[in-house]
């Protein structure tokens, strides 16, 4: 089996979650989702990717509000949210907890409603991130009946595991553990309750073909917008 970086495993997993989407938007500071999109494009998938923070050739000509207007119109299939805290109802907190201040809610309070699917992504898998109840709701995972909502959570991906969101049960189900992690460790490191799939699957590792693309055209593409990330994962790469 090929050696791979954890970031490469996560990017391949995100790429599978994106699936058959037509239009994916990637927001601030999201190098792994951006890598997943670049991988799908390198595989020849007919996907439109709008990178909010693309430094050159940015897709928006109406300023930074255009992304939100696109989402409001129903033109964004998949969006990504990270958070300082995520709870078992898929609420996200990007504002504050326990005396600590985080950057802020960004577009979460709108995009979580307006995008057709949202993939929650946070590498740190710990009881301080995955909490029973968030200290501040930047954006709710579930809305009351009668409140307009086009989409919501699809899955929660961490550095340790993949959880699927079950809309009908409004709970997560642990779908797979990344290689090197097991059910007991995930339970101990997760602050909220969730359902189990038995037996627990192992998250598929990147194929040789995926790794070749990641380390070639994808690395060069990502280096342009996320130079620090590209250097950390792939070493020195010349951006396209």
């Amino acid at each position: 089996m090929a050696e791979y970086a954890r970031e490469e495993l996560l990017a391949c997993t995100v790429a599978r979650l994106i699936g058959e989407a037509a239009h994916v938007a990637v927001g601030a500071a999201s190098p792994i989702p951006a890598t997943a999109c670049a991988l799908l494009l390198a595989q020849g998938r007919p996907l439109r990717v709008s990178l909010l923070h693309k430094r050159a050739g940015n897709p928006f000509t109406e300023g930074s509000r255009e992304l939100f207007d696109l989402a409001g119109q129903g033109r964004i299939d998949v969006f990504f949210l990270g958070a300082a805290q995520i709870d078992g109802r898929a609420n996200v907190n990007l504002v504050r907890a326990g005396g600590r201040r985080f950057p802020g809610s960004f577009g979460s309070a709108f995009m979580y409603f307006a995008a057709r699917r949202t993939i929650l992504f946070r590498e740190e898998h710990s009881p301080r991130v995955l909490v029973p109840k968030v200290d501040f709701v930047s954006a709710p995972g579930v809305s009351a009946a009668g409140v307009w909502r086009r989409g919501g959570p699809q899955a929660l991906l961490t550095g340790m595991a993949l959880f699927r969101w079950q809309a009908e049960r409004t709970r997560f189900r642990l779908e797979s553990a990344h290689p090197g992690h097991d059910s007991a460790e995930i339970r101990a490191r997760t602050g909220f309750d969730y359902d189990l799939a038995e037996p627990l699957a192992s998250t598929p590792t990147p194929s040789a073909g995926e790794l070749a693309l990641l380390r070639g055209p994808v690395a060069r593409e990502i280096a342009g917008n996320y130079p620090e990330f590209a250097r950390r994962v792939w070493g020195r790469v010349a951006p396209v």
Binding site: F68, R101, P103, S105, G107, S108, F110, V137, A139
Partner: protein, 290 residues
């Protein structure tokens, strides 16, 4: 604040002259780090020891706001986030909020845009989907959830109150002799200029002629009707960037993100990159940030 901009554009000498036009306590709208920040004016505001500024992030804030916060120029921020992007959390913002020195009016990106668009149109509020169920709604007395008046079905919807900044402040690639400025695709700068009582712009280069008479340039132009005053500032966005001219100085932002984690490190940074560069400017006609 005084009236909206008049038709006759004013040109000022430099970024320092613009900083002198920004009064203490003003409500100042700033673009995000990727969208033409007037960093040279930010440094000049630190040097003139501006106080009590209320910053509006359109829709987020970064390096420029963190510098102003650390230097004690800021009373409050209304924003969707403050972050240095890849260089990590904004250290002076984080410290100021956690110590109780800075008030934050938390928002979410499209609510900022919607509030400014209401002011562009001269209406008191504008609705937006989503947001309901967020704790932001309970914190914001200026956001109201109402029943959609156009349907008999239950349909709550949130209203953003019009946001009226005193001052819009940003950098531009070009100004022309008619006082028009070229902002390219960064149309959020046009939105904040439309919505603000006064707009101050620094620019890289002055162009001859009128850019509104050039069909290729005109769509990226902000007309002088919105521009209160403009001033030259070569490399005026540094360490942030101007597309096709100079890139964001990632190494510098990473350096700032590290050293500004402590008060002492931040003071040393100010000494090196804000105070010392003034002294060099005063003793040399060709300032450099290299």
């Amino acid at each position: 604040m005084a009236d909206l901009a008049a038709n006759a554009p004013r040109f000022l000498a430099d970024a320092q002259a613009i900083a002198a036009q920004v009064p203490d306590g003003a409500f100042v709208a700033l673009p995000p780090d990727y969208s033409l920040v007037a960093a040279e004016v930010v440094r000049a505001l630190v040097r003139r020891r501006a106080r009590g500024l209320r910053l509006l992030g359109v829709p987020v804030l970064g390096y420029g706001a963190d510098l102003l916060i650390g230097a004690g120029c800021v009373e409050s921020v209304e924003t969707s986030a403050v972050s240095l992007g890849e260089a990590g959390p904004a250290p002076r913002f984080t410290e100021a909020v956690e110590s109780g020195a800075l008030r934050v009016v938390d928002s979410t990106c499209p609510m900022v845009h919607t509030g400014l668009q209401a002011t562009e149109k001269g209406v008191p509020f504008m609705p937006l989907r989503g947001v309901i169920g967020s704790d932001l709604v309970t914190e914001r007395s200026d956001w109201k959830v109402i029943q959609n008046p156009l349907t008999s079905e239950p349909d709550p919807i949130v209203l953003a109150a019009a946001i009226e900044p005193d001052i819009a402040l940003f950098h531009a690639r070009w100004a022309d002799r008619s006082g028009n400025v070229w902002i390219g695709r960064r149309r959020e700068l046009a939105t904040i200029a439309h919505a603000s009582r006064r707009t101050y712009v620094t620019y890289e280069e002055l162009r001859d002629g009128d850019m509104l008479e050039d069909e290729l340039l005109a769509p990226g132009v902000l007309s002088s009707v919105y521009v209160t005053a403009a001033a030259p500032a070569a490399r005026g966005a540094w360490p942030l960037g101007v597309v096709d001219l100079y890139a964001i100085d990632d190494a510098h932002l990473a350096h700032y993100g590290r050293v500004a984690r402590t008060r002492e490190g931040f003071e040393r940074y100010l000494e090196e990159f804000v105070w010392r560069s003034t002294r060099e400017r005063n003793s040399s006609p060709a300032p450099s940030h290299a």
